[in-house]
């Protein structure tokens, strides 16, 4: 393992300090690893997200004007604790209540749920939404449901715009839920990531292999395939995404081609070029595109495609201004 770090067990905390040092609009609660806005508008719904670290810029990079109020940072790939989340809720309390945006993993759900219950005992109004955009994992009665991946950023952006517009908690929650229903993602890995505490890759991929449907924590995907061209990947991934989002000729969407951490921007733009050509061919119009590293998996090489079906309401909120370290609109 070759990483630019100091002690492994200090990596997350030093990273958090680096983020706030680089961004004068943010402050950090060191004990609970909460990164939050310096100025919190007490008349707007507070939006809190977070999860395991290793997905940078998610989520701390999206704290700021028009997006999150705070992000709670767990250890690498591990949910933040109930106490961390509970304190984030308390520290960012506003008169309009708090919405928790949770990626659907059992650890995250349990910790955010427990924190919400504690906050309610303290008379803080808390609502929760669970993002489950990853279509790689089949939804079924027997599982905890689909994982939350890069589509979470669209929920941050759109719910963030709704909160910034002064909407009340129920309304912000309704809009967040609508975004969640409209967003689907799928990812592919060319290499594994290496968790610092472990020091060796989580899985092995041959020089000619890829893992299709991979998660953002190095979870195995749905199948191991052989390397193929960017165009072939775009085709396979989009065909799944289009059928899941139900997008058809004449519809409008937003697209995110998201790098998983070690993928050069050159390759992401080549992939986006393929995505754009295919969508143009089937006459689905792209209202806005995001190409870059948004929800990464440490040093994993690969990418995910996220498609967000848009109506006029979501479109307007997606276009509303945002000013954060990793997304400025």
């Amino acid at each position: 393992m070759k990483k630019i770090i100091n002690q492994v067990d200090q990596a997350v905390s030093e990273m958090c300090k680096g983020i706030v040092a680089a961004n004068p609009d943010l402050i950090m609660d060191e004990r609970y690893k909460i990164i939050k806005r310096k100025m919190i508008d007490s008349n707007k719904v507070a939006l809190i997200s977070g999860g395991g670290s290793g997905h940078e810029p998610a989520h701390a990079g999206f704290v700021g004007e028009g997006m999150l109020t705070a992000a709670v940072c767990g250890d690498v790939f591990a949910s933040p604790s109930t106490m961390q989340v509970f304190n984030a809720i308390k520290q960012t309390r506003t008169s309009k209540g708090t919405l928790l945006i949770i990626k659907n993993y059992s650890g995250d759900c349990m910790n955010f749920d427990a924190a919400a219950e504690m906050a309610e005992e303290d008379d803080i109004r808390v609502e929760r939404v669970y993002v489950n955009d990853d279509i790689a994992v089949e939804d079924s009665l027997y599982t905890v449901g689909r994982r939350g991946v890069a589509g979470t950023l669209f929920v941050h952006k759109i719910a963030g715009a709704a909160a910034a517009a002064g909407k009340d908690l129920n309304e912000v929650k309704r809009i967040a839920l609508k975004t969640i229903e409209s967003v689907k993602s799928i990812g592919v890995a060319l290499t594994s990531c290496t968790v610092p505490a472990k020091g060796t890759p989580t899985f092995d991929l041959g020089e000619n292999e890829l893992e299709f449907g991979v998660g953002i924590h190095g979870e195995p995907g749905i199948r191991r395939g052989t390397m193929c061209s960017s165009t072939e990947l775009a085709k396979e991934m989009l065909s799944k995404l289009l059928s899941e989002t139900g997008l058809a000729e004449g519809d409008t969407c937003a697209v995110m081609v998201n790098g998983l951490g070690a993928t050069p921007l050159m390759e992401l733009y080549i992939q986006y070029h393929d995505v754009e050509e295919i969508l143009t061919k089937v006459k689905i119009s792209i209202h806005k595109a995001f190409v870059g590293n948004y929800m990464t998996s440490l040093d994993m090489s690969g990418f995910s495609i996220t498609i967000l079906r848009l109506d006029d309401e979501l479109k307007a909120l997606l276009d509303a201004p945002a000013d954060t370290e990793a997304m400025k609109v």
């Binding site: 767990g74 250890d75 790939f77 591990a78 949910s79 604790s81 109930t82 106490m83 961390q84 993993y105 059992s106 650890g107 349990m110 910790n111 749920d113 427990a114 994992v137 027997y142 599982t143 905890v144 994982r147 968790v195 505490a197 472990k198 989580t202 998660g215 924590h217 190095g218 979870e219 195995p220």
Partner: protein, 206 residues
């Protein structure tokens, strides 16, 4: 035989030791189908319990367990924080107003902990979680009390049931937690949490 606060405190300290000593082993158990952090997540919390054990308010069993639950909720990572934290919180509640616990009360303390875990995580028997070891163990405690067995005999029985329960998770497909994402691939691999329950109970009896 009645268990006093001091006994509870000793038991929890012993439990903490076992968790800390098994950190690497528990991680390995979680690697096969989960994400390999279970030992670390659990040890992080219990290391803190161990470190603070002398400062924890032990004026009553309830307050002692309640403070343990807060430490676990703050320091345990991943799913283990809320699972073990809510179990300890429920256990604390269960001992409200008691300054000693008979086997009957210990059995219902376990029942309350199981109920809290189920409420928190929504898992049931057969979902390939630690409940598959903890529920049989709890039932064993209760039955042992009903037939008038000793505390020691009751826990020997519970340990045996936990071991069988953990073993049985091998033939289950995980539907909760990280292991649920790998589908069939979790077959033939025991659940890390269930194995941990079995190991903890067995080691406590030594």
């Amino acid at each position: 035989m009645s268990i006093k606060t001091e006994n509870v405190k000793n038991a929890i300290d012993r439990l903490s030791d076992i968790v800390i000593q098994n950190e690497v082993h528990f991680c390995q158990l979680d690697s096969a189908a989960g994400d390999g952090d279970f030992g670390m997540s659990l040890a992080k919390g219990f290391r803190e319990v161990h470190r603070q054990i002398e400062e924890i308010d032990s004026s009553s069993i309830q307050s002692f367990l309640r403070e343990c639950s807060l430490i676990i909720s703050e320091f345990c990572g991943g799913a283990s924080g809320p699972i073990w934290g809510s179990a300890f919180a429920a256990a604390a509640n269960s001992t409200k107003g008691k300054d000693g616990l008979e086997l009957r009360e210990i059995a219902s303390m376990f029942e309350d902990a199981v109920a809290a875990i189920q409420k928190r995580g929504g898992a049931k028997l057969g979902d390939k979680t630690l409940l598959d070891a903890l529920i049989p163990a709890t039932i064993a405690l209760k039955e042992a009390d009903q037939v008038g067995k000793s505390m020691r005999e009751a826990f020997e029985e519970a340990s045996k049931k936990a071991e069988e329960g953990a073993e049985a998770t091998k033939s289950m497909i995980a539907s909760k937690g990280r292991a649920s994402y790998v589908g069939d691939r979790s077959l033939n691999i025991p659940d890390a949490g269930a194995e941990a329950i079995s190991i903890i109970l067995k080691t406590m009896l030594l």
